[in-house]
Symmetry: C2
Subunit: 124 residues, 2 copies
Protein backbone atom coordinates (compact mmCIF):
# COMPACT_ATOMS: atom_id res chain seq x y z
CA UNK A 1 0.00 0.00 0.00
CA UNK A 2 1.18 3.54 -0.69
CA UNK A 3 -1.65 5.19 1.25
CA UNK A 4 -0.86 7.55 4.10
CA UNK A 5 -1.76 6.34 7.55
CA UNK A 6 -5.47 6.85 8.14
CA UNK A 7 -6.61 9.39 10.69
CA UNK A 8 -7.42 8.06 14.12
CA UNK A 9 -8.84 9.50 17.36
CA UNK A 10 -6.45 11.78 19.25
CA UNK A 11 -7.22 10.05 22.52
CA UNK A 12 -8.29 6.53 23.38
CA UNK A 13 -9.31 4.65 26.52
CA UNK A 14 -8.31 1.12 27.46
CA UNK A 15 -10.98 -1.36 26.45
CA UNK A 16 -11.42 -3.85 29.28
CA UNK A 17 -12.68 -7.29 28.39
CA UNK A 18 -15.70 -8.92 30.00
CA UNK A 19 -13.56 -9.76 33.04
CA UNK A 20 -12.39 -6.15 33.32
CA UNK A 21 -8.90 -7.08 32.10
CA UNK A 22 -6.56 -6.11 29.27
CA UNK A 23 -3.72 -8.26 27.90
CA UNK A 24 -0.34 -6.66 28.54
CA UNK A 25 2.82 -7.46 26.58
CA UNK A 26 6.06 -6.76 28.42
CA UNK A 27 9.23 -6.09 26.48
CA UNK A 28 12.79 -5.57 27.70
CA UNK A 29 13.57 -1.93 26.92
CA UNK A 30 17.28 -2.59 26.49
CA UNK A 31 17.28 -5.71 24.33
CA UNK A 32 13.84 -5.59 22.68
CA UNK A 33 13.19 -9.14 23.85
CA UNK A 34 9.55 -9.93 24.54
CA UNK A 35 9.52 -11.19 28.13
CA UNK A 36 5.95 -12.18 28.94
CA UNK A 37 2.26 -11.57 28.53
CA UNK A 38 0.13 -10.93 31.58
CA UNK A 39 -3.11 -9.14 32.40
CA UNK A 40 -4.04 -5.89 34.09
CA UNK A 41 -7.21 -4.53 35.56
CA UNK A 42 -7.80 -0.80 35.96
CA UNK A 43 -6.23 -0.71 39.41
CA UNK A 44 -3.09 -2.55 38.28
CA UNK A 45 -2.65 -0.13 35.39
CA UNK A 46 -3.19 2.88 37.62
CA UNK A 47 -0.63 1.62 40.13
CA UNK A 48 1.86 0.80 37.38
CA UNK A 49 1.65 4.24 35.79
CA UNK A 50 1.72 6.05 39.13
CA UNK A 51 4.49 4.01 40.78
CA UNK A 52 6.58 3.22 37.67
CA UNK A 53 6.95 -0.36 38.87
CA UNK A 54 4.85 -2.98 37.12
CA UNK A 55 1.77 -4.40 38.84
CA UNK A 56 -0.38 -7.03 37.07
CA UNK A 57 -3.61 -8.78 37.90
CA UNK A 58 -3.14 -12.47 38.67
CA UNK A 59 -6.01 -14.40 37.12
CA UNK A 60 -5.13 -17.54 39.08
CA UNK A 61 -4.94 -15.79 42.44
CA UNK A 62 -7.56 -13.14 41.57
CA UNK A 63 -5.40 -10.50 43.19
CA UNK A 64 -3.06 -7.65 42.34
CA UNK A 65 0.40 -9.00 41.61
CA UNK A 66 3.35 -6.70 42.13
CA UNK A 67 5.83 -8.32 39.78
CA UNK A 68 8.92 -9.53 41.63
CA UNK A 69 7.49 -8.96 45.10
CA UNK A 70 8.65 -12.37 46.25
CA UNK A 71 11.34 -13.19 43.64
CA UNK A 72 13.01 -9.79 43.50
CA UNK A 73 12.59 -9.83 39.72
CA UNK A 74 10.86 -6.46 39.63
CA UNK A 75 10.14 -4.48 36.47
CA UNK A 76 10.65 -0.72 36.28
CA UNK A 77 8.36 0.86 33.75
CA UNK A 78 10.16 2.67 30.93
CA UNK A 79 7.13 3.48 28.79
CA UNK A 80 3.65 2.22 27.99
CA UNK A 81 1.60 2.18 24.81
CA UNK A 82 -1.99 1.30 24.02
CA UNK A 83 -2.85 -0.17 20.65
CA UNK A 84 -5.02 1.17 17.85
CA UNK A 85 -8.26 -0.30 19.15
CA UNK A 86 -7.41 0.10 22.81
CA UNK A 87 -7.55 -3.55 23.77
CA UNK A 88 -3.86 -4.37 24.30
CA UNK A 89 -1.07 -2.72 26.28
CA UNK A 90 2.65 -2.83 25.52
CA UNK A 91 5.09 -2.02 28.31
CA UNK A 92 8.79 -1.53 27.92
CA UNK A 93 10.58 -2.25 31.18
CA UNK A 94 13.91 -2.50 32.87
CA UNK A 95 13.88 -6.10 34.10
CA UNK A 96 15.66 -6.72 37.39
CA UNK A 97 16.98 -10.03 38.72
CA UNK A 98 17.23 -13.30 36.84
CA UNK A 99 14.40 -12.57 34.45
CA UNK A 100 10.70 -12.23 33.91
CA UNK A 101 9.73 -15.91 33.98
CA UNK A 102 8.67 -17.66 37.16
CA UNK A 103 10.95 -20.55 36.12
CA UNK A 104 13.99 -18.28 36.56
CA UNK A 105 14.47 -17.76 32.85
CA UNK A 106 14.92 -14.41 31.18
CA UNK A 107 11.82 -14.71 28.99
CA UNK A 108 8.73 -16.87 29.21
CA UNK A 109 8.93 -17.84 25.53
CA UNK A 110 11.13 -20.91 25.34
CA UNK A 111 9.16 -23.61 23.53
CA UNK A 112 9.49 -23.93 19.75
CA UNK A 113 7.64 -26.16 17.28
CA UNK A 114 9.37 -29.47 16.68
CA UNK A 115 8.56 -32.81 15.10
CA UNK A 116 6.56 -33.96 18.10
CA UNK A 117 4.94 -30.79 19.31
CA UNK A 118 6.30 -27.74 21.08
CA UNK A 119 9.70 -28.51 22.52
CA UNK A 120 11.95 -26.87 25.08
CA UNK A 121 14.57 -24.87 23.22
CA UNK A 122 18.24 -25.48 23.91
CA UNK A 123 18.64 -22.14 25.58
CA UNK A 124 15.45 -22.67 27.57
Amino acid sequence: MTDSPSSVPKTLSPQWNEQGLIPTITQDADTGEVLMLAWMNAEALEKTLAGRQVVYWSRSRQALWRKGETSGNTQDLVDAHLDCDGDTLLLRVKQHGAGACHTGRRTCFFYAPGETGWQLTEDG
Copy 2:
Protein backbone atom coordinates in the same frame (compact mmCIF):
# COMPACT_ATOMS: atom_id res chain seq x y z
CA MET B 1 17.71 -14.58 42.62
CA THR B 2 20.81 -16.63 42.03
CA ASP B 3 18.94 -19.90 41.58
CA SER B 4 19.31 -21.88 38.37
CA PRO B 5 16.31 -21.98 36.09
CA SER B 6 13.85 -24.56 37.37
CA SER B 7 13.22 -27.68 35.36
CA VAL B 8 10.21 -27.62 33.09
CA PRO B 9 8.44 -30.13 30.81
CA LYS B 10 10.35 -30.98 27.63
CA THR B 11 7.23 -30.54 25.54
CA LEU B 12 4.14 -28.43 25.92
CA SER B 13 0.85 -27.98 24.10
CA PRO B 14 -0.92 -24.71 23.37
CA GLN B 15 -3.55 -24.00 25.99
CA TRP B 16 -6.65 -22.70 24.22
CA ASN B 17 -8.96 -20.44 26.19
CA GLU B 18 -12.69 -21.08 26.62
CA GLN B 19 -13.25 -19.70 23.10
CA GLY B 20 -10.61 -22.04 21.67
CA LEU B 21 -8.19 -19.15 21.11
CA ILE B 22 -4.69 -18.17 22.16
CA PRO B 23 -3.31 -14.61 22.26
CA THR B 24 -0.50 -14.14 19.75
CA ILE B 25 2.13 -11.42 19.97
CA THR B 26 3.75 -10.49 16.66
CA GLN B 27 7.20 -8.95 16.59
CA ASP B 28 9.24 -7.59 13.69
CA ALA B 29 12.16 -10.01 13.36
CA ASP B 30 14.46 -7.33 11.97
CA THR B 31 13.82 -4.43 14.33
CA GLY B 32 12.44 -6.16 17.42
CA GLU B 33 9.46 -3.83 17.35
CA VAL B 34 6.25 -5.33 18.72
CA LEU B 35 3.75 -4.91 15.93
CA MET B 36 0.41 -6.22 17.17
CA LEU B 37 -1.49 -8.69 19.29
CA ALA B 38 -4.09 -10.90 17.66
CA TRP B 39 -5.66 -14.29 18.29
CA MET B 40 -5.32 -17.75 16.78
CA ASN B 41 -7.40 -20.87 16.91
CA ALA B 42 -5.92 -24.29 16.24
CA GLU B 43 -6.58 -24.08 12.50
CA ALA B 44 -4.95 -20.64 12.19
CA LEU B 45 -1.87 -21.88 14.02
CA GLU B 46 -1.66 -25.00 11.89
CA LYS B 47 -1.93 -22.99 8.69
CA THR B 48 0.65 -20.48 9.91
CA LEU B 49 3.21 -23.13 10.78
CA ALA B 50 2.58 -25.11 7.61
CA GLY B 51 2.46 -22.19 5.17
CA ARG B 52 4.99 -19.88 6.89
CA GLN B 53 2.62 -16.96 6.28
CA VAL B 54 0.66 -15.70 9.26
CA VAL B 55 -3.03 -16.53 9.57
CA TYR B 56 -5.01 -15.29 12.60
CA TRP B 57 -8.56 -15.80 13.81
CA SER B 58 -10.69 -12.67 13.53
CA ARG B 59 -12.85 -12.44 16.64
CA SER B 60 -15.01 -9.73 15.06
CA ARG B 61 -15.61 -11.61 11.82
CA GLN B 62 -15.44 -15.07 13.42
CA ALA B 63 -13.36 -16.28 10.51
CA LEU B 64 -9.81 -17.16 9.58
CA TRP B 65 -7.89 -14.02 8.69
CA ARG B 66 -4.91 -14.34 6.40
CA LYS B 67 -2.98 -11.24 7.42
CA GLY B 68 -2.53 -8.86 4.48
CA GLU B 69 -4.92 -10.71 2.19
CA THR B 70 -6.62 -7.46 1.19
CA SER B 71 -3.98 -4.87 2.18
CA GLY B 72 -0.92 -6.69 0.90
CA ASN B 73 0.69 -6.26 4.32
CA THR B 74 1.45 -9.94 4.70
CA GLN B 75 3.67 -11.43 7.39
CA ASP B 76 6.19 -14.17 6.68
CA LEU B 77 6.83 -16.31 9.71
CA VAL B 78 10.45 -16.33 10.90
CA ASP B 79 9.94 -18.30 14.09
CA ALA B 80 7.34 -19.08 16.73
CA HIS B 81 7.57 -19.65 20.47
CA LEU B 82 5.09 -20.78 23.09
CA ASP B 83 5.40 -19.48 26.63
CA CYS B 84 6.11 -21.32 29.87
CA ASP B 85 2.50 -22.13 30.65
CA GLY B 86 1.45 -22.60 27.05
CA ASP B 87 -1.15 -19.87 26.90
CA THR B 88 0.57 -17.25 24.74
CA LEU B 89 2.33 -17.37 21.38
CA LEU B 90 5.12 -15.10 20.18
CA LEU B 91 5.78 -14.86 16.44
CA ARG B 92 8.71 -13.14 14.84
CA VAL B 93 7.86 -12.11 11.30
CA LYS B 94 9.07 -10.35 8.23
CA GLN B 95 6.44 -7.64 7.80
CA HIS B 96 5.62 -6.69 4.22
CA GLY B 97 4.00 -3.48 3.00
CA ALA B 98 3.29 -0.35 5.01
CA GLY B 99 3.01 -2.14 8.32
CA ALA B 100 1.02 -4.37 10.58
CA CYS B 101 -1.68 -1.92 11.63
CA HIS B 102 -4.97 -1.62 9.77
CA THR B 103 -4.51 2.18 9.98
CA GLY B 104 -1.47 1.95 7.71
CA ARG B 105 1.02 2.41 10.52
CA ARG B 106 4.01 0.19 11.14
CA THR B 107 2.89 -0.91 14.62
CA CYS B 108 -0.49 -0.90 16.34
CA PHE B 109 0.96 0.62 19.53
CA PHE B 110 0.81 4.38 19.09
CA TYR B 111 -1.09 5.79 22.08
CA ALA B 112 0.86 6.87 25.17
CA PRO B 113 -0.36 8.06 28.56
CA GLY B 114 -0.72 11.85 28.76
CA GLU B 115 -2.32 14.37 31.06
CA THR B 116 -5.80 13.71 29.74
CA GLY B 117 -5.73 10.01 29.00
CA TRP B 118 -4.04 7.99 26.29
CA GLN B 119 -2.92 10.26 23.49
CA LEU B 120 -1.83 9.74 19.92
CA THR B 121 1.95 9.89 19.84
CA GLU B 122 3.68 12.31 17.50
CA ASP B 123 5.01 9.54 15.36
CA GLY B 124 1.62 7.84 15.35
